[in-house]
């Protein structure tokens, strides 16, 4: 056993690995991707018009940070995602919990929700523009439409998987049937609900670009589209990187939130 290298020891199914190795592996893959990128660009294999060099993207980032436009467009995008996601979640969480708890609510909503859930959000963008115009309301509507129905189904699932005997135990301790969702279903499914929110906020970011590509005057999707017209590929790269970074931050935020509001759940 001790004769083997640490790396071959790490290829035992399901065996945990050290934190140092985990970080090293993650960094190695990033280094590989960026290395390949550098090879393609500095090696002159791909014209700069299609693939900008890493240094160019960094310089552009510096320029757009300095003139404040990167912050402005990022804030505009984040605002749309935040408003749309919060409105969607405020309705989807309670409604999903009731849907998962009461068969009648489920029977009423399931057919409609499952129909809408499979419609591509993009197909509604023209309709929203026609109805709502091209203001922030239109983009927020796209986010809500894209996340709400997915959230509803997943949160209902979380509520449905609350163990029956947990609810039964609550009844024998004096919980009334009318308060079951508040006293039992909500706290019992809270960790799962937070996981649903964490996953769907990522989807909200993807719908954002759909909304901004079509109709917007600011935002990361908007500057990407404008950059395309001027062959500024470095700006497109920068916008994509920003969305990735913001996604990473929201994801970590939800992990922290889960640990904070549901410390009992492992």
């Amino acid at each position: 056993m001790s004769e083997k290298s640490p790396l071959s020891n790490s290829f035992v199914p399901y065996r945990p690995i050290s934190l140092a190795l985990a970080i090293a592996l993650g960094a190695a893959v990033w280094a590989l991707v960026i290395g390949g990128w550098m090879l393609l660009t500095y090696g002159g294999r791909v014209p700069e018009m299609f693939l900008p060099a890493p240094g160019k993207v960094l310089m552009t980032a510096g320029r757009l940070i300095a003139d404040g436009s990167l912050m402005m467009h990022t804030a505009a995008s984040a605002q749309v995602v935040l408003v749309g996601f919060v409105i969607s979640s405020i309705v989807a969480v309670p409604l999903g919990l009731y849907m998962g708890t009461y068969k009648a609510v489920q029977a009423a909503l399931d057919p409609l929700v499952n129909f809408i859930r499979y419609l591509p959000v993009t197909s509604f963008v023209p309709l929203f523009i026609l109805w709502i115009g091209i203001g922030i309301e239109q983009r927020v509507s796209v986010i809500i439409f894209g996340t709400f129905f997915q959230q509803l189904v997943m949160i209902a699932d979380a509520a449905r998987s609350v163990p029956r005997d947990l609810v039964n135990a609550a009844y024998t301790l004096g919980t009334k049937r009318s308060t079951t969702v508040r006293h039992i279903v909500f706290p019992a499914s809270l960790p799962a609900v937070l996981d649903v929110l964490r996953v769907t906020v990522g989807w909200a970011w993807t719908y954002l670009v759909v909304a901004e590509l079509v109709a917007a005057k600011s935002g990361l999707g908007y500057i990407s589209l404008k950059a395309m017209r001027g062959f500024q590929v470095d700006i497109i790269f920068l916008a994509i990187a920003m969305i990735g970074i913001l996604g990473l931050i929201t994801d970590q935020g939800f992990r922290l939130l889960r640990r904070f509001v549901a410390p009992w759940a492992v």
Binding site: L166, A169, A170, L173, P187, A262, W264, A265
Partner: protein
């Protein structure tokens, strides 16, 4: 503290499903449990013994017959009938102390009164040092001890127990049986306990109700007269073994009926 109550089950039937595919789980079952009595139902798996407990708790609806607890007809669940389940049912988002205080809180008891109950009942089950732990941090035996404390802290008139030690290893199981008898001795609640373990039934019970296989009925009621406290080596007593043999015979007769 509330008085303990009697349980009357009279001619109860329970039928699952609809149309041609109905299953008769209980068929005209009757039993009576006296106040303060420790009654144990033993029966083969699938005989409906757990279903009977759920009917008395009001968690399921009977198809026919009458059930009264303390003279009141059972219609739905209520805090007068405490229950300890086979699966672990502590609320994972509450600490041990908050779990025990859950019932009193629902009843609107003041905080100092709730604290008094928590302190008393955690001491009863020997878990005073674990008040601030979450259920996920406890072993299986400890979880069931908290579940017993939680049920008793709500001051029910009867305590229903559905194979509460079924998932525990035999060492823990024996310790839990002794603990339960001590707690019962202090509280003097009526206990109706379901198990498939014959030895456990005789060790705990004032009377053992032996159930037949599906559809479930009471096959025989056996008074257990061994003096309490019943110590570990009582299981080697010839009278104990004779009773165990009799119950095994009753349960086996059931197998032969089926084949």
């Amino acid at each position: 503290m509330t008085q303990s109550a009697d349980i009357h089950v009279s001619n109860v039937t329970l039928r699952y499903g609809a149309g041609q595919k109905t299953v008769l789980a209980l068929d005209g079952l009757s039993l009576d449990v006296k106040p303060n009595e420790f009654a144990v139902i033993v029966g083969p798996s699938g005989c409906g013994k757990s279903s009977l407990l759920y009917l008395i708790a009001g968690l399921e609806d009977r198809t026919g017959g009458a059930i009264t607890v303390g003279g009141k007809s059972v219609n739905g669940p209520g805090p007068d009938r405490g229950m300890v389940f086979q699966s672990y049912t502590l609320f994972p988002w509450l600490t041990v102390a908050q779990n025990v205080a859950y019932g009193p809180r629902r009843r609107g008891l003041a905080e100092d009164e709730r604290t008094r109950l928590v302190t008393h009942y955690l001491a009863e089950v020997g878990l005073s040092g674990f008040a601030d732990h979450y259920p996920a941090q406890l072993s299986g035996g400890m979880k069931q001890r908290v579940a017993i404390a939680r049920a008793l802290a709500n001051d029910p008139v009867v305590l229903l127990m559905d194979e509460p030690f079924g998932a525990l290893d035999s060492q823990t199981r024996h310790a839990m049986q002794r603990l339960l008898l001590r707690v019962w001795d202090h509280s003097q609640k009526t206990v109706l306990f379901v198990t498939h373990d014959i030895e456990e039934a005789i060790l705990l019970a004032d009377r053992v109700f032996v159930m037949s296989g599906r559809p479930g009925q009471i096959r025989k009621v056996l008074p257990v007269d061994f003096p309490r406290p019943r110590l570990g080596d009582i299981v080697l007593d010839p009278a104990f073994i004779a009773m165990k043999r009799e119950i095994m015979g009753l349960l086996r007769a059931d197998d032969e009926d089926e084949h």
